[in-house]
């Protein structure tokens, strides 16, 4: 048994990173919005889905005209990120901001709104795709450039070009975001708003603009993650965002919600856990528990971690704002 586990281990860890980076990028959207608004933006999983759908459509329409698969992917990433980011801004502008302006203090109200927006976006995409192509399952077109494969370490890891691209793009985006938040004026403003919205506005920061930017950044990251997800797993439906979204949210909490490096770490940990148990559960339990229990076990471990560190892996215990 041990031999069987070890033989697969490099592959499992590699695949865990693929999933983990997707979760990490989506988790950032949750954590940033939570940071500035203390709102769990459940519509974010649909922003992710919209990115994936845009990716599929770009591949469908531009693949015959663009020779290089890499250029095509770049276009898809840019467009997917842009459309998703703009959708996120619109959601904030028309769903959350009006609530904020009315001075709603009940935190459940924006939360319920977010869930509502999520349903609207799902069925809107389903309607559009139904009318446009009469398709429910959208299939990412296969582009040869991105499909090449190599075996590393004497066949221990089977990897595809697109897997490396996914990891590379994710790392770049995560580094870029870290730079943006820590070293730029916009980043300072975002952190200021996150710390104290009303004081920040006294310091000459327009909170609405910063919140809007935060949604743009988080949404674009989610959209890019969606395109990469579509490239990797190839079949997309209007409801595909739900589970990855929920898990990314969990990852954000695991890392310490509101904490940016925490969301990245949480995403990677969750991706590894899920992939590890998905692969090994039947082997470890002698076939009694199948792959379908991977989430149960992964979430059990999360509960344990959160029992020991309720603030999350990298979260800090903050005093309630007075």
């Amino acid at each position: 048994m041990l031999e069987q586990i070890l033989a697969l281990l490099p592959q499992v860890i590699f695949d865990g990173f693929i999933l983990g980076f997707v979760y990490a990028m989506v988790a950032l959207g949750y954590t940033m919005v939570y940071g500035v608004l203390e709102l769990i933006n459940f519509a974010h999983s649909e922003i992710f889905m919209i990115g994936a759908v845009v990716g599929v459509e770009v591949f469908r329409y531009l693949a015959p005209h663009v020779d290089s698969g890499f250029l095509l992917l770049l276009l898809a990433l840019v467009l997917g990120g842009a459309v998703a980011g703009v959708t996120a801004i619109l959601v904030e502008r028309f769903a959350y901001r009006p609530l904020r302006k009315r001075g709603t203090t009940n935190r459940l109200v924006p939360l319920i709104t977010a869930i509502g927006v999520s349903f609207i976006l799902q069925d809107l995409v389903r309607l559009v795709e139904g009318l446009w192509h009469n398709e429910f399952f959208l299939r990412m077109r296969t582009v040869e450039d991105l499909e090449g494969s190599v075996e590393l370490f004497g066949g221990a890891i089977f990897a595809q070009t697109k897997s490396f691209i996914l990891m590379g793009v994710s790392i770049l985006m995560l580094l870029g975001l870290t730079y943006l938040v820590n070293r730029t004026k916009l980043g300072v403003a975002i952190r200021a708003v996150a710390q104290d919205l009303s004081t920040a506005s006294l310091m000459g920061i327009d909170p609405d603009r910063i919140i809007s930017r935060t949604f743009l950044i988080g949404g674009s990251l989610g959209g890019v993650a969606g395109v990469l997800f579509a490239l990797q797993y190839t079949t997309i439906t209007p409801y595909v965002g739900f589970l990855p979204g929920l898990k990314a949210f969990t990852a954000a909490v695991l890392g310490g919600i509101g904490n940016i490096p925490g969301a990245m770490l949480g995403g990677l940990v969750l991706g590894q856990l899920e992939n590890f148990f998905g692969t090994y559960l039947p082997i470890l339990t002698n076939g009694n528990f199948g792959t379908e229990y991977k989430d149960v076990v992964a979430f059990l471990i999360l509960i344990l971690i959160l029992l020991l560190r309720p603030q999350g892996l990298l979260g800090q215990v903050v005093k309630e704002k007075v």
Binding site: D123, G130, F136, F137, T142, E274, G278, T279, P282, G287
Partner: protein
């Protein structure tokens, strides 16, 4: 969307609830939206074609024949809600449906309350007819024969001993996979693993299990629907695994090739209870009319739905005659269906005491490399009665 659709259907049903003396309606229930719409639409269109072609005949008998399609969304709750609406429309005298056994089983219990006849073109779970409801019939085969047919072909013809079995945790998929496993093990083969999954996008953990499985599986059997098997086989082949694949009638849709990609899908074996047009010489002319009328190819379930509707129409005609030209009751139609002996497109249709077709056909097929579903190779046809049939 769903809610609005339901509302519209509800209002429409309300409007029809009054009942007219010279209108006879036949309902279809199958998924017309969502993941399994491609198969469900075949059922609707197949039945619609049969009904349209019979309109003139029923006009001569003094009745307007109407087909009313319902969308069960492959969801048991929606199926039952539709069924309640259907039994409240007194003009509906027969139902062609469903696609999914998990939906057909609870819905048929609603029809049974008013003895409304259901003729199924596609439900293969044994429980559909094993409950011995007098109104439930099917013209297709059963999973407790389909699974073993697949197992026997794999073991005897493909010479496969070790099989990695996956299922989708539904009444259909898991049931089929279990029947496959039973026969395989009875013959001396071995299920290397028996894994259930509801996953729709990330099949990597299962693929890694297959890679690491010892003894090395020579075949993967997937009891499920094309919407899952398509992306699964795509990821499987992309990751360089060439293990042969077999499935049941759930992958019998051209959507399978689209989702998997032609080169990944090529060579996949599947058993089906609804053979392709090429297996039925008599279906060719109908398939042409189908193509002309709807602009798409008639697939297996379309043919079976056409025959299911024929069964109901034949019974209706007999019931009208027996009733002295007046509109028959649901009970009468239901009884007439059990007496039908019909030479349909798919062969002789005659029901046993449970409502199973006395001799159902089972097909072993192989997906062609051309990407065209109609090119799939018919390997063998097996005719078999349901277990315990009288």
């Amino acid at each position: 969307m769903r809610k609005i659709g339901l509302l519209v259907a509800g209002v429409a049903a309300l409007g029809m609830a009054l009942g007219q003396a010279n209108v006879i309606k036949i309902a279809t229930q199958s998924p017309l939206s969502g993941p399994q719409a491609a198969l469900g639409e075949q059922i609707k269109l197949g039945a619609e074609l049969a009904v349209e072609e019979a309109k003139a005949k029923f006009k001569a008998l003094g009745f307007d024949l109407v087909l009313v399609p319902y969308d069960d969304q492959a969801n048991p709750d929606v199926g039952v809600a539709n069924a309640n609406r259907i039994i409240n429309d007194p003009d509906i005298l027969g139902v062609v449906g469903h696609l999914n056994s998990g939906v057909a089983i609870p819905s048929s219990e609603v029809y049974a309350r008013v003895n409304l006849v259901m003729v199924s073109p596609a439900n293969t779970n044994p429980r559909v007819t094993d409950r011995r409801l007098p109104n439930v019939n099917r013209i297709c085969g059963r999973d407790d024969v389909q699974g073993p047919v697949g197992a026997e072909y794999a073991f005897n013809n493909l010479k496969v001993k070790n099989v990695f079995i996956i299922h989708d945790k539904t009444a259909y998929g898991q049931g089929l996979a279990e029947e496959f496993r039973k026969r395989l093990e009875a013959m001396g083969g071995r299920a290397v693993a028996f894994v259930g999954t509801e996953e729709t996008s990330n099949f990597v953990p299962i693929i890694n299990q297959i890679r690491g499985a010892r003894p090395v599986p020579e075949l993967i059997y997937f009891g499920g629907i094309y919407s899952q098997i398509g992306p699964f086989v795509k990821q499987l082949r992309e990751r360089g695994l060439k293990t042969r694949l077999m499935g049941g009638d759930g992958l019998d849709s051209s959507e399978f090739v689209r989702l998997a990609g032609a080169q990944n899908a090529a060579g996949t074996f599947y058993t089906t209870v609804a053979g392709p047009v090429s297996a039925f010489p008599k279906a060719r002319a109908v398939a042409q009319r189908f193509k002309q009328r709807y602009g798409k190819d008639m697939e297996g379930f379309g043919i079976y739905a056409y025959d299911s509707a024929q069964v109901i129409l034949t019974a209706l005609e007999a019931a009208i005659k027996a009733n002295g030209g007046r509109k028959p009751t649901r009970e009468q139609v239901s009884q007439e269906v059990r007496k039908v002996k019909l030479e349909g497109l798919t062969g002789t249709i005659e029901f046993d005491d449970k409502g199973d077709n006395k001799k159902a056909k089972y097909f072993v097929m192989q997906v062609a490399s051309t990407g065209n579903w109609a090119d799939n190779k018919l390997i063998r046809v097996i005719e078999m009665a349901a277990p315990g049939s009288r």
